[in-house]
Every structure is written in structure tokens, then in C-alpha cells.
Symmetry: C2
Subunit: 468 residues, 2 copies
């Protein structure tokens, strides 16, 4: 025990002494535009994988390798695997992260270029700063600190698995977990892809919404037509999509797809009570995070309930037709709406998609041919707070932040957490260090550097505790 305490102290000190170098390394990783949705970045995504693999090797992990993945319709991006498994009888932790990032568009809204990380104040700005390169790097750096402090040993068995397709649906890792789960055998997973409820407030995420991401394609005329000559006779796919979308969700934010709310499981009374106790100023949230004139969403539910525990439907873009500057008078042959739904516990992607598809087809406007397709999906998740790993995380964060840790849910989806439950039969500790205003998936994404360093220390303390 004495040795463990000394090693812990040494690891924390090492992380503190090397903090600037850790940030420099992170910058190098952020400079790689590993946008997994964009065909032109194929080489960059792979380069990010190799960057991570090289560092895992350098810090002393073993069996470091790239695991190639592929799906039915395309070659995938590799998983990066590493392990250190030299303490039989101790638990094994599976550290998960992803090295791919969202597209950076719209580029003209960035104050500094998305792939030239810039530190302004205490924040580092870049695409992927917090989602998830910065948070993934905390894992790597915590392992490095423990390895140095332990003279080449870790206090716990560790496997690392990193993916490069989180932002495009994560099919590769899902298939690997499903088919080769024995290669990831562990007792608990650690995922740092969530956020603190408020700056300085240690937060564990114990629930996530699931999702289905779909495209609704509407086809009208065989070819693009001139709207002067054919307006009045030809069906317009954009007008049809507008009519459909207006029937999917009412102006209060209630989803109108029949049956959609039937299986929705309510949060427990205890959970609702705890959410009410969280420090939350709705007006401040509206002004600083959302920035709209008013908040929207289902009447009768709090913001937390609406974003964590209620299904929602959003439209992300409507490709097709003419979107350049100026005027083109076309009735396009087709138009598409990218529509996603967030799911909450007891809803399933398959059933929700079937409900959506059936309803959209039933309200198909005259003259329009409709195709509804699912691009990817993820199950909703609730993690029990009643296990030793969550308790150790609660304690580790309390120590680092000097405050009681709170439990929240997330409105987003991390499908891999559901895969870990289903195929590896292990719980996941979701210990994330982002902030609500970190601009995830948006221009000017950032990571608050003090949280990067607190995150490393929290993970060091948690890994030490899990191995104690």
C-alpha cells in the first residue's frame, strides 16, 4: 500500500511536470485532419491511427497493432489496440477513445483554422480538441505517468482500443466487439467522451440517449425541370419533404410519429430530484449555450428531461436542388432530408426506424416517391451507479476537484457503450472532462486545458484505485 501511494504521488507529479509536453503532443495530433466522413481525408485518418499507435508503443504498452476493419460497402479505418496484462488477479480496464473527428464545416465561422490548434486564454481550439482526441490523450498520458512512476509497470491490467469511425457510425468497432470480444476481455471500460455538468463540478455520466440517423429521399420529376415551365404540374421534392417534416414534429417539439412515445421509460423520482438539485440557470444556458431567442421543446418537461430522457427529432441538412449563391429556377428531380431521432431507455433503433419509415410512407405527398434509409444507430444506455468502478471514479474525481461528484445523463449517443454491455458484459465508467460550451461538432471546438490536466490526474487516481 505504501508503495502504491508513493507511485500514485509520483505519477501525479510526473503528469504535472510534463503537462506542457502533453499539450504539445496533443497539438501534433490535432493537426492531423482525421475527418472520417470525408473521402479526401482517408490518408489523414490513417495517419492519426499510426500517430496513436506509435505513442502507445513509446510509453511501454505491448502488442500494439492496427486492426483493419471493413464494412459491406467500403474499407474501414483501423482500430488501434494495445495492452499491458502483467498482474494476474487484478481487474482489467478497457480504455476506449476515438481518433477521428467531425467535419470542420462551416469553415468561415472558425476564428482560427480548425486543424491549426491555437491556445487562446486557457483553452485549446481545434476540431477534435475535446471530441475526442483531447480526452483520448488523457488516457494515454495517465498510462504514461503511471508507467514511469511504476518503473515500467502499471497498477492494473489495461487494454486500449481506439477507433477511427466514431463519427461515421462506428460499424468497424461494433463488428469487432461482436465477433472478437474475447480479445477485449476486461472487467470495466473507461470512456472519456462526455462533459462536466459545470466547470469545476466533477461529473459522471450514467445514461445516454440512443439514436437512429436516417435519410428521407423524395423523388418527383425524372430530371431537373424549369420551375417556370413546369411549376403547377410537376411535384416538387423539397415542398414534399417540408410537408413530411412538418408532420413529423409539431411546433412544440412533440414528435408526431404514431407509437413513438409508447415504450419511453421515465427517469426515477430520485434521478429527477437529483437533476433538479444540479446548478442550472435556464436563462444563462439559453443565452450562453444555445443563443436562440427562446428555448424550445416539449412543454411540461425540464431542459434536463428534454435533452436526456425524452426522444427528439432533428433535421441536419437537406441536400439537393440549387444551393449556390443567387437564383436558379429549378424543380429538382430529388431532394433528401437528413433526419435523426434520439432514443431513450426502452426504445430500440429497429422499432423506432420502422415506426418512422411506416409513418413517412403513409404521408407521402402526391406524385412523390419516397425512400427512407437508416445510416446508423445506437442503443440508449443507463449505467448502474451501484458498482465498485463507478464508486472509485466518484472518489477519484472528488479528490481532484475537491467537490462531491454528481451523476447526470447525456443527450448524445455513444453506441460503443451499448456494445460493451451487450457483447463484453461489462459496465462503462463515463468520466468526461469537456464543458457545455466546448462547441462539440461546431465551429471553434475547444478543450479547457485545466480540465485536460484534471482529467489526467483523475484517470491516474482511478486506475490506481481499480488496481488497489
Amino acid at each position: 500500500m505504501m508503495g502504491e501511494t508513493m507511485a500514485l504521488t509520483a505519477a501525479v507529479a510526473f503528469a504535472k511536470d510534463n503537462g506542457d509536453r502533453f499539450v504539445d503532443e496533443l497539438k501534433a495530433l490535432l493537426r492531423i485532419p482525421s475527418v472520417s466522413t470525408a473521402p479526401e481525408h482517408v490518408g489523414d485518418v490513417r495517419r492519426a491511427a499510426e500517430f496513436c499507435a506509435a505513442e502507445l508503443t513509446r510509453i511501454g504498452l505491448e502488442h500494439v497493432r492496427l486492426i483493419e476493419t471493413s464494412t459491406a460497402d467500403r474499407a474501414g479505418y483501423p482500430l488501434v489496440y494495445a495492452d499491458w496484462l502483467h498482474i494476474p488477479g487484478k481487474p482489467t480496464v478497457l480504455c476506449y477513445g476515438h481518433y477521428d473527428v467531425q467535419p470542420a464545416e462551416p469553415l468561415d465561422e472558425w476564428k482560427s483554422p480548425p486543424f491549426e490548434p491555437e491556445i487562446r486564454g486557457e483553452n485549446i481550439y481545434a476540431r477534435g480538441a475535446v471530441d475526442d482526441k483531447g480526452q483520448m490523450w488523457m488516457h494515454v498520458k495517465a498510462l504514461e505517468a503511471l508507467m514511469v512512476a511504476g518503473g515500467g509497470t502499471l497498477p492494473v491490467n489495461v487494454r486500449v482500443i481506439l477507433e477511427g469511425e466514431e463519427e461515421v457510425g462506428g460499424e468497424g468497432i461494433a463488428a469487432f466487439v461482436r465477433e472478437h470480444g474475447e480479445q477485449l476481455k476486461a472487467d470495466v471500460a473507461l470512456v472519456s467522451d462526455t462533459e462536466l455538468f459545470a466547470d469545476g463540478l466533477p461529473t459522471l455520466c450514467v445514461g445516454l440517449r440512443g439514436m437512429i440517423y436516417t435519410e428521407i429521399e423524395a423523388r418527383g420529376p425524372r430530371t431537373d425541370l424549369h420551375s417556370g415551365m413546369y411549376g403547377g404540374a410537376a411535384p416538387n421534392p423539397f415542398v414534399a419533404l417540408a410537408q413530411i417534416i412538418a408532420k413529423l414534429k409539431d411546433e412544440d417539439g412533440k414528435i408526431l410519429v404514431p407509437g413513438l412515445y409508447e415504450k419511453v421509460q421515465k427517469p426515477t423520482d430520485d434521478e429527477l430530484k437529483a437533476w433538479k438539485a444540479l446548478p442550472f440557470d435556464e436563462e444563462h444556458y439559453r443565452e450562453t449555450e444555445v443563443g436562440s431567442t427562446v428555448l424550445t421543446g416539449e412543454p411540461g418537461f425540464s431542459v434536463m428531461e428534454r435533452t436526456w430522457a425524452r426522444p427528439t427529432l432533428e433535421v441536419h441538412g437537406m441536400p439537393g436542388g440549387f444551393i449556390g449563391a443567387g437564383a436558379k429556377t429549378v424543380i429538382p428531380a430529388k431532394a433528401t432530408a437528413k433526419v435523426s431521432l434520439r432514443l431513450v431507455p426502452n426504445m430500440t433503433p429497429a422499432e423506432t426506424f420502422a415506426q418512422l419509415k411506416g409513418f413517412v410512407e403513409s404521408i407521402r405527398p402526391k406524385g412523390i416517391v419516397i425512400e427512407v434509409r437508416m445510416l446508423h444507430s445506437g442503443d440508449p444506455i443507463v449505467v448502474s451507479t451501484d458498482n465498485e468502478f463507478v464508486r472509485a471514479a466518484t472518489e477519484a474525481m472528488r479528490t481532484v476537484f475537491g467537490k462531491e461528484t454528481v451523476f447526470v445523463r447525456g443527450g448524445g449517443s455513444i453506441p460503443i457503450v451499448g456494445d460493451f454491455v451487450r457483447h463484453l458484459k461489462i459496465p462503462t465508467v463515463m468520466m468526461g472532462f469537456g464543458l457545455p460550451d466546448d462547441n462539440l461538432h461546431a465551429p471553434n471546438e475547444k478543450f479547457h486545458l485545466p480540465n485536460f490536466h484534471r482529467g489526467i490526474e483523475s484517470i491516474i487516481r482511478w486506475l490506481q484505485a481499480v488496481g488497489a
Copy 2:
């Protein structure tokens, strides 16, 4: 009179003998990608102007010059002017055309590249083949034939005015006509930017719909947001636009903007009767031109009435958000709908825009900030058939085609025709030689070459008759 008949015969023969060369010249013009909506083609648009000016000079017109234009917010494309005014006492004809073209997108639907003209069968395929380079070239070639046949003289006074901004609203020529009308003093204008009702059927267009082209911009959150984290609290601009559009037009095609139909002037009973007599097979039209499962539009009106004499509303594209392949889970800060309305006689662009804007603002969804802006507009037009120029055109086409000429309207808009009425106080003969399936503004635009040659002969005969 004998001399005139001989000159006419010689001009027609010259056009026949030189038909292949005329097509080669047209090909050269079509190779210039003079897309006036696209900033990257600025040099090409000007090159097309210079190409036309050089040819007008070569065939013997005088005072050939480029007239620079500009609007409040950008430099414009030049007008090309030329004249030949040596027969005092004879009428002056103003030949109008435009040398700019629509964007060629979507490129992957073209069977041959849009700016590499290709003849397949009896058609020439290229962007601008019929709209309007091919039709404008008929004017130039008719003038060349008459000039050669007349030994350096024409049978009538002629001014030529070509513009390079027809596809972006034609503000430059509109301003020039308004402010320098005396430089275009004429008795009648000739515009060839319309089509035959059916192949082989000589057709004069005596009415056009007007239009307003608008953008409806919806703003929700201050910045793009993650739909997982904020779905349920943040307003979504695409959903808002869908809700708005669904309230602008019902599923039968009726426009729901209050007051919009109030001023609509019905066609005369004679006109409706003539339209009923036109050779028109609705099922053939649906299948070969529109290609949709059914036709749409206001119940109780024929296709001709719906496309020529009723206002319509169309959505052309909805820029904003994420439109790439795959999934991006964003609630965009803003989205825009490109929405145009076609106007019929007695409606005015200003009043229609005010009605649209007022209604859209009145149905603005919660949390959304709306801006409605007009990009450009044109008046609806009806031309009297009771004048000598229209009668001469009727006769010229009857001679060339060997059939009685029919009178139709067009569903599209040619704003310059309204400007000629308002500022030059002259009627316009709309003698066009396109075909209904020429794919105007769409991929695989074409011009049926026999109609190119018939058009040249019709214009030769008409100019000769006007000067007789």
C-alpha cells in the same frame, strides 16, 4: 418588290448553304462556360460577350461595343450592342438575346460534358444550346444571310442588344433600358427565348408569367449545436423552414399566402378555347416531360392554365447544415430556403413579395429569427396579337413550317419583355424555336438542329416582311 423577293430567296439559300458552318460557330460559343451565377466563371462570361461582338462586327453591323453595367453590390457583365440604321422611314427592329447560361450542376447527370457540345442524332447537347445561345445565334445568322444577300445592306433597320445576366436577374440591362432607352429606340423587339408547342408546330408566345425569387433565411441557435446535447431545447432552422413551407402551399398545390389570388386575371374565353384545341396529350406530357408518377397542381385547372395562367410557388434548394455523404449530428445555426413564385397578369412583384414576407413573418416558429429577401423579380406579360409585327411573324412561321401558327403563353419569365413595354413602349414578338423536352436549366440541355435552321429562315422572312 422584285429585288426584295430575290434578296429573300438569296438569303434563305445562303443560310441553307452555310448551315453547317453556323452550327460549328455555335459550338465554339457553347464551349465558353459563361455561367453568370458562378464567380469562378467571370472571365468566361466576358469572353462570350467578346465572341458575340466580334461576330456582329464581322457580319457588317456597326457601332459594335460592349456596354459595361454594374449594380449596387457588384460589377456586372457587359451588354453587347450593334446596329445598322440606314433606311430612314422603315421600322427598326431590336433583336434581344442573352449570352450567359445557367449553372450546369448536377454534372454527373450529363451524358456528355455540358461545355463540350456534342451532336447526337439531330440534336446538339450543351448547356446554353437552346437557352439562349442557340436561339440568339439564329438572330445573328439571319442578319448575316440578309446582309450578304443584300450586298451589304439589310431590308430593315436593326439594333442588337445582348446581355450576360439573364440568368442572374438581368439587373444591368433593366437599368440600361430604364435610363438609356433612347439608345435602343425601335418599333418592335424580337426575342427568341421560348419554344414551339410541339415539334413542327409554328408557335408564337403572347404571354409570360412574372416572378419573384426570394430567400427565406431561418436562424435558431447562435452557432451550430450537437443534436444529441441540445435536441429538445434548441430550435432547429430546417424544421422551422419545413413548417413554414408546409403552410405556404397545400398538398393540392394551392398557395396559402393570404390575398395572393385576389388580383389574378383569368385568360379570356377565346384564349381558353384555343388552348383546349392545342395538340396536348396529358399522359404523354407526364411521361415524357415531367416523368413523375402523377401530375400535381391546383384541382379544376388544366395543365395549360396551371403552368401559364395561375401563380405557383416552388422551393429550389435549402442551403445550410450538413449536406455531405454520411451523418453529421448538427442543429445548424441557420438554414435558407430558395423560394420563387410565378406571377400572372395583374399581379405585381412588389405586392406579391409584401404578401409573402408578411405571411412568413406571421407564421414564424418559436425561437426562430426570419429574414425574407427578394433576389430579383419580373412582371407578368400579355402581348396583343392584334399588331402588324405579330401578324408578320405568324405568316413567316406558317411559310417555313407549312402549318398554321398557334398562340400560346409561357410559364417562365422573360423580365426584359416587360421592360421593353414599360420603358421603350414597344411590343415584343416572342418567336422561339425550342422544344418542350429540350431540358432547359437541367442536365442534357439540347437544341433540335432542324429547328435552329427553321428559326434562321423564319427570322430572315420576318425581318424582310417588317421592312417591306
